[in-house]
């Protein structure tokens, strides 16, 4: 009854405020693009009809070479090489653009680039993020999962289900376990004794992030009070959190196939049998030390946490099991096994035993591929309690939104995923389609891409947004289909210059009407990857564990540490991986200038690049032309070549300096 009254009150409040419920919660409108003679692309039909209403029109299309550079940067995150540019510019113009789009959508670099958008949203990082900020050696499998999902054009509902509930789908499928790494992406470090608060913080943070990422709603405010602006109550918040309550973290699962696991078990059995007596001896030798270490570890925790730890697993609920896990993590992380304080004679004996064990190494199977993932606890699930109110709540969906799917108590997160990835969920598709739009145009149709609530911006073209969302669902939730529609539009191919620019800017100062293209800076990764491409150093390997900064692989693969915010990539606004980020800041700072003009990295790339140029025996003018073309994506003018040649002929170092100037130039760093 109370709930009904609450709902009625809410409706009254909402209707008083707006006359109807908030637009983003309303069902998608089935709209057709306005008929405009000569226009076939629906995006253009929507955009141009709005422009015409204001007596405005599109800017002209950009030149083919500029358009190509824009396309490469948008789809694969770096400009074309000269060879790629020449191939396009000399291709049969009929269908060349479509062929180029399709080729890039099949290029593995596409997934590498588009993964970044998602990794920013889910605050991906390779490190723990407290003090020690240790490297997470297996989380890269989640990153690769995202790269592959984009490359394979995985239908969005699958993408949602696998991340939120991979373990509940088919617990043995390596890909599903990797995807469920989503549940491990938050910051966590083992050395905290107040594990109860720590775990509550972790759950809240997963809840906040899930609201941001999948629903485009910042639910975080409702943790402490009913949302002041949106129809999200504190109870809604904790209902959402309740889906995640029974999660337990798993470090014992592998991303190996059933066949590999079987072979591993078989071989392991052989090795164990052959070494049983040695293992027994080791166990006897280490037992007192292990016991002592366990005791000292456990004793440091508050008594209620110690009680969780001592309870048999079969009697624990999910929270108790989680507390016990967090205690055990400390034992392991603080070197539980190999022991510092062994007696001399025990140490000698231990070394001897290890040596005799090593004699059987050829029997020992190679380790499987561990995966950082999570599953639901298979015992009783502990309740979610609203703090202060002390009211227990069950998992449930946002009350202001449609959906009353029943929730399987053993597959709670799968129910959440199904509710999110349902075509009738009005937020999911609008939010995702808008994110994709943002990556093409620099700003979303809703400019606050993770806030579709009342504090966010309304859509500049609501009908276009809904049409795209419906079209997305109609085409099997294919993101590549969206790319094709957007990239083939005049809207996307417009010049950044408009003949009536001054007048238009007065009439539409925020440029929401889309009457010209936007100048954008290369992303942090784009700057680094493009420099490596120009210098010829970039390695084409896809996937695998993270690498150090000095390895010439794409920035995507450089290990990201949450506590190191002063790297080259961070100077260009890479996210720190702490909070979900829908749109990066795009700053212009003296620090960037210093890094580029004085720092080792850009200069180093310039040196390698210039060496490559100098090994070529064509004329200085020809080489200067090539260099400028590859950095700027256009034919340099005679005047520019005229400036370059005398500069290059000054001294030995001039080539390096010239390349360094190009890497620093605006035309390299910006895309038109």
């Amino acid at each position: 009854m109370r709930r009904v009254i609450h709902f009625i009150l809410l409706c009254l409040l909402v209707s008083q405020a707006d006359g109807e419920s908030w637009w983003a919660f309303q069902p998608l409108k089935q709209v057709s693009p306005p008929e405009l003679p000569g226009l076939k692309n629906p995006v253009d039909q929507f955009v141009l009809s709005r422009l015409r209403e204001q007596g405005m029109t599109f800017a002209p299309k950009v030149t083919p070479e500029t358009r190509l550079r824009r396309l490469f940067v948008t789809l694969v995150g770096m400009p074309p090489t000269l060879a790629e540019a020449d191939a396009f510019l000399t291709d049969n113009p009929v269908g060349a653009w479509e062929r180029q789009i399709n080729a890039l959508l099949e290029d593995p670099r596409y997934g590498e680039h588009w993964a970044t958008m998602w990794l920013d949203l889910v605050r991906y990082s390779d490190s723990d993020g407290w003090n020690q900020d240790a490297y997470r050696p297996h989380i890269w499998r989640y990153r690769d999962y995202v790269v592959n999902a984009f490359n394979d054009d995985k239908p969005y509902p699958e993408f949602v289900r696998e991340q939120l509930a991979g373990d509940e789908l088919d617990g043995d499928n390596p890909e599903h376990l990797e995807a469920a790494g989503y549940l491990r992406l938050g910051i966590y470090e083992y050395n905290q004794r107040d594990v109860r608060s720590l775990w509550s913080d972790v759950l809240n943070e997963i809840t906040d992030t899930t609201g941001d990422v999948f629903l485009g709603m910042s639910v975080g405010c409702a943790r402490c009070h009913d949302h002041k602006f949106d129809d999200i109550t504190q109870k809604d918040y904790f209902k959402l959190r309740a889906f995640f309550e029974p999660i337990i973290w798993r470090d014992d699962l592998t991303a190996s196939t059933a066949f590999e696991k079987e072979r591993y078990a078989e071989q392991m059995g052989k090795w164990k049998a052959a070494t049983k007596s040695i293992h027994d001896e080791i166990a006897v030798l280490l037992k007192p030390y292990h016991d002592r270490k366990w005791k000292s570890t456990v004793d440091k925790f508050p008594l209620d946490i110690q009680a969780c730890f001592h309870k048999p697993v079969s009697e624990r609920d999910s929270l108790e099991h989680k507390m016990a896990y967090l205690v055990a993590r400390q034992f392991e992380e603080e070197g539980g096994g190999p022991l510092k304080s062994m007696k001399k004679e025990d140490e000698v004996a231990y070394e001897a035993l290890k040596k005799s064990l090593a004699a059987y190494d050829d029997l020992k199977p190679k380790p499987l591929s561990p995966v950082m993932t999570a599953t639901a606890f298979d015992g009783p699930h502990s309740p979610t309690v609203i703090p202060g109110v002390e009211e227990a709540v069950s998992p449930g969906f946002l009350s202001a939104m449609p959906g009353d799917a029943s929730i399987d108590s053993q597959k709670k997160r799968l129910a959440l995923a199904e509710w999110i990835a349902n075509p009738n969920n009005p937020l999911t598709t609008r939010v995702l389609v808008n994110r994709i739009w943002q990556q093409h145009f620099g700003e979303g149709l809703v400019s606050t891409a993770s806030d579709f609530g009342r504090k966010g911006q309304r859509a500049s073209h609501p009908e276009l947004l809904d049409w795209l969302a419906c079209e997305f669902v109609r085409n099997e939730w294919s993101i590549k289909h969206l790319h094709r529609i957007m990239l083939r539009s005049w809207t996307w191919q417009q010049s950044t210059l408009h003949p009536q620019m001054k007048d238009y800017q007065k009439r539409d100062p925020d440029e929401k009407m889309l009457w010209r293209g936007r100048v954008r800076r290369l992303s942090a990764e784009g700057v680094r990857d493009s420099m490596l491409m120009l210098s010829g150093e970039l390695l084409a390997e896809v996937g695998g564990p993270g690498v150090n900064e000095d390895v010439p692989r794409r920035a995507l693969y450089v290990k990201r540490f949450r506590n190191d915010n002063d790297t080259f990539l961070h100077a260009f606004d890479m996210t720190p991986g702490l909070k979900s980020t829908a749109q990066r800041n795009e700053t212009t700072t003296p620090t960037q200038a210093l890094t580029m003009i004085n720092g080792d990295y850009a200069l180093g790339r310039a040196k390698v690049w210039s060496k490559r140029l100098q090994d070529d025996d064509r004329s200085t003018a020809m080489l200067a032309r090539d260099a400028m073309r590859s950095a700027w994506g256009r034919e340099p003018t005679g005047d520019e070549i005229g400036q370059a040649v005398p500069f290059l002929e000054k001294s030995q170092d001039s080539w390096t300096d010239f390349c360094h100037v190009l890497l620093n130039s605006n035309e390299f760093l910006f895309v038109h």
Binding site: P576, A593, L603
Partner: protein, 462 residues
């Protein structure tokens, strides 16, 4: 300024010529700043002396005779047993074997571990009832910097830069100095700008030899004439490019960023060059002694930076959690106090005699204090529930003690000041209202103290 600096640079034809540079610097110093403050500011800038690892309030400022009396006994049952970081159960209380004296006109207590700061007590307001949520270093240091123990929010210095803007754009307005080559707990995240643009993040400056700011100078392999020729060609390309794309503020901004970088290149080394400081001044900061040299240098640099308009200077003492003293607190604290005490007193005195203390708020403290209970026999565990900090200058009424902990210094009990209140008070003294200063992020008006905290008016004697 009536003259556009870039026009001047262009028409002078000098690129980054030194004549133009001198002229610009002069212009810059004439231009007065009008920060957007919410009320009349008491302070213009902050020097935050951060004792990393957690100094013992019980051994420095918060005298507890009962502690010495009960030493060796367990915590009386009338005190609630706290969750401690290291979790030693039932540990005996540890005496604070200090020599305590009252100092100055105000008669504030200080122990023999800070004899120099003790001579400044009339300028200092001691906050004896601070508390925080962070039980371990990562959370505590994060909270003292960003108001919350969970990572991801902008640092206090970023909020100050965001709120007040720069008073000298040739220098970063939020600067961090560490007293050793180590890395503080949480690394550079402590001075990160969180969800704000990177423009507001702190910049670590290194005193002594080497570059004060990373990549400030061209590499040695690239002599000045080469660098000049490069910059000339670069700006030529950039200007032609910008001319072809008018009304692109991004392109203009980038051209300007190179000019700013160049001016920083000229001004930053001067700001950190101590050659012009007299031997007497250096001695005042303890730079003439091995034990006090490192922190003394940083304190003197801090004065030079605030003189030049840097808004927020944070100095780490014991960088890398060195104040942490789970065992052997006597030896640990004696050494760290020695390294910090004279330099800090020198800073206060130097600021005062130059008339800078009035407009410079000096804040002293760690991420938490230490327990009255012992750990490992002769150390103390972390105490987030009650500890001391102090403030001086920037409109703060000195010679007073605010708030109190219980009789053993375990819990803050009177006039409790959470980190939210401490940050709100620092902002208030700078003319910023912690509830009115907002940054829109994901549909929420974010505030520096997370919608909590209040100015403690006792700080200004109200």
């Amino acid at each position: 300024m009536t003259f556009n600096r870039r026009d001047f640079l262009q028409t002078s034809g000098a690129g980054f010529g030194s004549v133009a540079l001198q002229w610009m610097l002069h212009q810059e110093s004439q231009g007065s700043q009008h920060p957007l403050v919410h009320h009349a500011a008491k302070a213009k800038q902050v020097i935050f002396l951060f004792m990393e690892g957690g100094p013992s309030h019980l051994d420095l400022l918060d005298r507890k005779p009962l502690l010495d009396k009960l030493a060796g006994q367990p915590l009386p049952s009338s005190f609630k047993e706290p969750i401690t970081a290291m979790g030693e159960k039932g540990a005996a209380l540890l005496a604070a074997p200090r020599t305590w004296k009252r100092h100055g006109q105000s008669g504030l207590w200080a122990s023999e571990w800070m004899p120099h700061i003790a001579t400044c007590m009339d300028d200092i307001a001691v906050l004896k009832s601070c508390w925080t949520n962070g039980i371990n270093h990562a959370g505590g240091v994060c909270q003292m910097n960003t108001c919350i123990n969970f990572a991801g929010r902008p640092s206090l210095g970023s909020w100050v830069d965001y709120g007040l803007g720069s008073a000298n754009e040739n220098l970063p307005s939020f600067v961090v100095l560490c007293d050793n080559k180590g890395r503080p707990v949480n690394g550079s995240r402590n001075w990160g700008s969180g969800f704000m643009p990177a423009t507001h993040q702190g910049v670590r400056i290194r005193g002594g030899e080497g570059e004060p700011i990373a990549d400030l100078h061209p590499p040695t392999e690239c002599p000045e004439d080469r660098q000049r020729a490069k910059l000339a060609l670069l700006q030529k390309f950039n200007r032609e490019h910008a001319a072809a794309f008018p009304q692109k503020s991004e392109l203009e901004a980038r051209i300007r960023s190179y000019e700013l970088a160049f001016r920083m290149q000229a001004e930053a080394p001067e700001a950190v060059d101590l050659a012009g400081e007299s031997e007497a001044t250096k001695a005042l900061y303890g730079m003439d002694h091995r034990d006090t040299e490192a922190f003394g240098r940083n304190c003197l640099l801090a004065r030079r930076l605030v003189e030049r308009g840097v808004r927020f200077v944070q100095l780490y003492s014991g960088t890398g959690s060195k104040w942490d003293s789970h065992a052997g607190i006597e030896k640990n604290h004696a050494r760290l106090c020695r390294s910090m005490d004279k330099p800090v007193a020198g800073l206060l005195k130097d600021l005062k005699r130059r008339g800078l203390l009035e407009e410079t708020l000096v804040v002293w403290g760690g991420e938490f204090g230490r327990t009255p209970m012992s750990e490992k026999g002769d150390g103390r565990d972390h105490n987030p529930t009650g500890f001391s900090m102090w403030m001086a200058g920037g409109g703060v009424k000195g010679g007073q003690s605010i708030g109190a902990t219980d009789e053993l210094g375990l819990y803050a009990v009177k006039d409790r000041m959470h980190v939210h209140d401490i940050h709100a008070s620092i902002l208030w003294l700078l003319g910023l209202d912690n509830m009115a200063l907002t940054y829109d992020h994901k549909g929420r008006p974010e505030r520096p103290t997370i919608n909590e905290g209040a100015f403690n008016a006792k700080l200004i004697g109200a």
